[in-house]
Every structure is written in structure tokens, then in C-alpha cells.
């Protein structure tokens, strides 16, 4: 693995953000709006129903922030690829001495930085507006976030593979894939709310264990190691499957000319 190549690719994707501040809207504006809307909606429902406001809003704000970790890391992989397609730079990258895994690793690094910025903004906002302290999770935040980020990378690889397979017409999948799994991930509600068939799907996803673990952590004040272990296990399976799908799609792309087709569309 050539770290220089990874560093160069990561820096190039970051240049795109510094050159165009409008892109920062995606990282700051939308997550903030989502947090505020969901937060105020919860306050309203709590006040109307007169139920326990404190725990309900903590679950919800935690879910919004945790979901953004998954979503932003998935986006980093898929959007970085699309950036090269949109700027017609994809061929320049793939005829350069860049190994596929170096390319992917650079998008993972971009994901890490994107998540860092978004989480910082959301944490600050949640604390200022709702007095919600994300750090009440203490050290367990790190394994939770790591699991969500890794799952985001897996989904990013699958999204990119699908875009590569079906061309630019399928670029909407870069945003759709994580939302396809959101209902099953039990982000804003416990798995027990879901119909039985959906519950079966939910327990296959690493994200479900993180969100269940987050709620358990908030309720009990300690980390649930069973959920953590199962999340790691499911993540490993997803990482291997998505890696194989991506590698197989790249191989097929080189056989069918899909790389050049998408790069010159």
C-alpha cells in the first residue's frame, strides 16, 4: 500500500471542499436542520403527550447524530467516486499507478474527516439547544462510531459498484442506499416495533446492534458488549461481501468497458 498515493487522493478530495464552500452545506447545513427539526418535533410531541421528555429526546438526538456517522461515511466513498465522474477525471485516476484498494482507502479517510466535522457541529448544536451531552457515552462512543463508519464504508462500496454497473443514471443510489436500510436499522425506534419479517432483516445489519446498544447505553448508563460484539461480527461479514462485490464489479467494468463508458458519459 502506497501511503503517498492515499494522502494525495485524500488531499485532492478535501481540496474540492475548500474550493467550493457550497459543498460545506452538505456537511453542516442539512445535518443541522435535521437535528433541529427532529429535536423540536420531539419536544412538541413530548409536551403534547406529557410523557418523559428527558429520555425520549436523548434517544432521538443520539440517533440523529449516530445515523449521520453512517450516512456521511457512506457518502464519502460514493460521492468521491462521483466527483471524479462529474469532473471527467476518472480516466486520469485509473490510468495512474493507483491500486483499487488505495483508491478506496483514500475515500475511507475522506469519510473519517467528513464524519469528524459533521459530528462536531451536531454535538455542539445538540448541547447548545437541547443540553444533550453526547459525551455521556464516554469511551463507548469510539466503538459505536467505528462500527457505523465501517458499515458506511461497506455501503459506500456497494453504492459505487452499483453506479459503476449502471452508469450515471444510477447516481441517485449514492443517496438512496443507506436510506433503503434505515427502516430496518431501528435508528429511531427499537427493533421490537418492527414486524417479525423486518426484525429478521434488522438483526442482519451491524447498524441495528449499534442503535440498540446506544439506547441501552443511554438507559442503563453502560456499554452493552453483546450488541457491540454482534455489530463487529456483522460488520466483518458486510465488509467482506461489499469488498468482493466491489472487486468483482471493477473486474467486470474492465472487461465490459464500463469504466470508460461512465468516465466519458
Amino acid at each position: 500500500m502506497n501511503l503517498n498515493v492515499i494522502f494525495a487522493l485524500t488531499r485532492r478530495y478535501l481540496y474540492l471542499y475548500t474550493r467550493n464552500p457550497v459543498r460545506m452545506i452538505e456537511l453542516i447545513f442539512w445535518p443541522s436542520v435535521e437535528l433541529l427539526v427532529m429535536g423540536f418535533l420531539t419536544v412538541f410531541i413530548q409536551k403534547s403527550s406529557g410523557s418523559d421528555f428527558g429520555s425520549f429526546i436523548r434517544f432521538l438526538l443520539g440517533a440523529v447524530i449516530f445515523w449521520d456517522v453512517l450516512f456521511r461515511s457512506q457518502q464519502a466513498v460514493a460521492i468521491s467516486f462521483l466527483e471524479d465522474v462529474w469532473t471527467r477525471n476518472l480516466l486520469n485516476i485509473f490510468v495512474a499507478p493507483v491500486r483499487t484498494y488505495e483508491y478506496l482507502f483514500a475515500t475511507f479517510c475522506v469519510g473519517l474527516l467528513r464524519v469528524g466535522l459533521t459530528v462536531f457541529i451536531l454535538t455542539l448544536l445538540a448541547w447548545l439547544v437541547y443540553a444533550f451531552n453526547l459525551f455521556e457515552f464516554e469511551w463507548s462512543l469510539i466503538p459505536y462510531f467505528a462500527n457505523l463508519m465501517i458499515f458506511g464504508w461497506s455501503l459506500g462500496m456497494i453504492s459505487t459498484a452499483l453506479i459503476l454497473r449502471w452508469g450515471q443514471a444510477a447516481e441517485g443510489l449514492a443517496w438512496a442506499v443507506p436510506y433503503l436500510l434505515q427502516p430496518f436499522s431501528a435508528v429511531f425506534y427499537p427493533v421490537s416495533i418492527l414486524p417479525t419479517v423486518f426484525q429478521f432483516i434488522a438483526w442482519l445489519l451491524p447498524s441495528t446492534y449499534v442503535f440498540e446498544g446506544m439506547r441501552a447505553g443511554l438507559a442503563e448508563g453502560s456499554m452493552n458488549y453483546t450488541y457491540f460484539g454482534l455489530s463487529v461480527l456483522a460488520n466483518l461479514v458486510f465488509m467482506v461481501i461489499s469488498g468482493l462485490i466491489f472487486a468483482q464489479t471493477m473486474k467486470a467494468a474492465r472487461q465490459k468497458g464500463l469504466l470508460t463508458r461512465i468516465a466519458t458519459q
Binding site: N4, D84, R88, T264
Partner: protein, 250 residues
């Protein structure tokens, strides 16, 4: 001169369509070879296979004496490419783009190399300009700067003058030939502009339906076919396409 690139029986099928059909050729070190042919003849497919963007159905590409398939990344460090169909990211500055590729290609003393290329291609004043704001001519010259960053031993140029006016196209042609002569770069050059081929190439290879129909020195080919210009030969071969005796196959 030693052989830098050898292609043996290269074939690319897309289902029942054969884009490149058992094509064999060799290119010597320092030689500039033009690939000519009508749209869909197989030139770009051939280039894409040499660049590793496409996997051949069968056949072998030997570069620098080794199988390209087995040493792709190692070989790509010693090659470069530019095409009228690919751009550098339009929202970065000229300098940021070149720095990025210099790092990817592990260029030593990148700053000096970038300075010298920008001067050579007369776009040093645009160093801080946004790439998307460059004119077509400036953009083509920037792409050539990127393509020469790593002092490639093999340079593939896919219709680099396609979108340029005659004046800028002439300047680019002259510069490409000059750089190739000075640095002894081996080039594969595709173009639909006969002037490009006549000015730049030592040898042209005419491809029709994925096969080589003739090859040799551009001037000799015009004579051989008893036509008034390379363009007339092109039209004749593109419409007829029968394989003829090669004039000076190396």
C-alpha cells in the same frame, strides 16, 4: 532501437462484436506511432487495453519487456496518458491539479518539474487559475503538462487536438514533437486530424474493423496508394478496408 511495446494477437470481443481482432504490432523506443482509423475502428479500444482500462479477451501486451497484465501498476508509473475526453478537475487550480498528480506519480522535486512544464507550455501565468476557467488551448496544454510530469517512457495521446482551433492545434503539435524529440519519448497518438499524423508521427498504423490494414511512414503510404493526401488514403481505406502489403513494418 529496442522494442518498448509488443502486442501479440490482441483481441477484444463485446459479445458477438469484435472491436480488436487478433492485432499484433510492436513499437520501438523513441518511436512516435499514429493510430488512424474511422470511428469504431478499434483505436481507442486498443489504447484502453494498453492503459489497463480494458481487459483483453485474448492476446498479450508486453511493455518494457514484461507482461503488462502482471505488472500493471509498475508499468503505469512509467507511462502517461491524455485525452480530449478526460479533464483535470475543473474546480481545482492548475497548480493543485499538477501537485496532486505529481504526488501520485511520485515525481521527485515536483515543484521544479511543475514550474518547468508550465513555462514550457506557456501557461505559467495561470498557475493559480481555476482549471475550469482555462480556454480549450490552455486546458489541452495543462493536460499535456500532467501527461509529462513523470517523464513517461510511453505516452498515449488520444485526439489531443480534437477541440482546438487550427492555430492552437499547430502550436500543440509542434510542442508535442519537440518534447518527444528532446526527451526520446515513445508515443502512441490517435487523431482524426491528418495534419497531426503527418507532422508528428514517424509511422502510422491504419486500423479497420479491429485489424491493421496497413502501416508505414505517412508519406510513403500516400505514395503507395497513389493518392494526393493522407486524407484521401484515409477515406479509401475506411470505405474499402482490405488488408494491403505493409510498406515498412518494423
Amino acid at each position: 532501437m529496442s522494442t518498448l511495446l509488443t502486442i501479440e494477437e490482441l483481441t477484444k470481443d463485446y459479445g458477438s462484436t469484435t472491436a480488436v481482432d487478433h492485432l499484433s504490432l510492436s513499437v520501438k523506443k523513441g518511436e512516435i506511432v499514429g493510430l488512424l482509423g474511422a470511428n469504431g475502428a478499434g483505436k481507442t479500444t486498443l489504447m484502453q487495453m494498453i492503459l489497463g482500462l480494458l481487459t483483453p479477451t485474448s492476446g498479450e501486451i508486453i511493455l518494457f519487456g514484461e507482461s503488462f497484465h502482471k505488472h500493471r501498476v509498475k508499468h503505469l508509473k512509467r507511462m502517461n496518458f491524455t485525452s480530449t475526453y478526460s479533464n483535470l478537475p475543473s474546480n481545482l487550480t492548475v497548480e493543485q491539479n499538477l501537485k496532486f498528480f505529481a504526488q501520485i506519480y511520485a515525481v521527485k522535486d515536483a515543484k521544479r518539474k511543475i514550474d518547468s512544464l508550465l513555462q514550457e507550455f506557456e501557461i505559467a501565468d495561470h498557475r493559480k487559475s481555476i482549471t475550469g476557467n482555462l480556454s480549450s488551448g490552455e486546458s489541452t496544454r495543462l493536460n499535456l503538462c500532467k501527461a509529462l510530469l513523470n517523464d513517461p517512457e510511453l505516452l498515449l495521446l488520444d485526439e489531443p487536438t480534437a477541440s482546438l482551433d487550427p492555430d492552437i492545434a499547430d502550436k500543440v503539435r509542434t510542442k508535442v514533437r519537440q518534447v518527444a524529440d528532446e526527451k526520446g519519448i515513445t508515443m502512441l497518438y490517435t487523431s482524426h486530424n491528418m495534419k497531426d499524423i503527418e507532422t508528428i508521427c514517424d509511422r502510422l498504423i491504419f486500423i479497420h474493423k479491429g485489424r491493421i490494414v496497413t502501416q508505414g511512414n505517412p508519406a510513403k503510404i500516400v505514395k503507395q496508394f497513389e493518392r494526393g493526401s493522407l486524407e484521401e488514403v484515409f477515406i479509401h481505406l475506411a470505405r474499402d478496408g482490405e488488408i494491403v502489403e505493409e510498406t515498412d513494418n518494423p
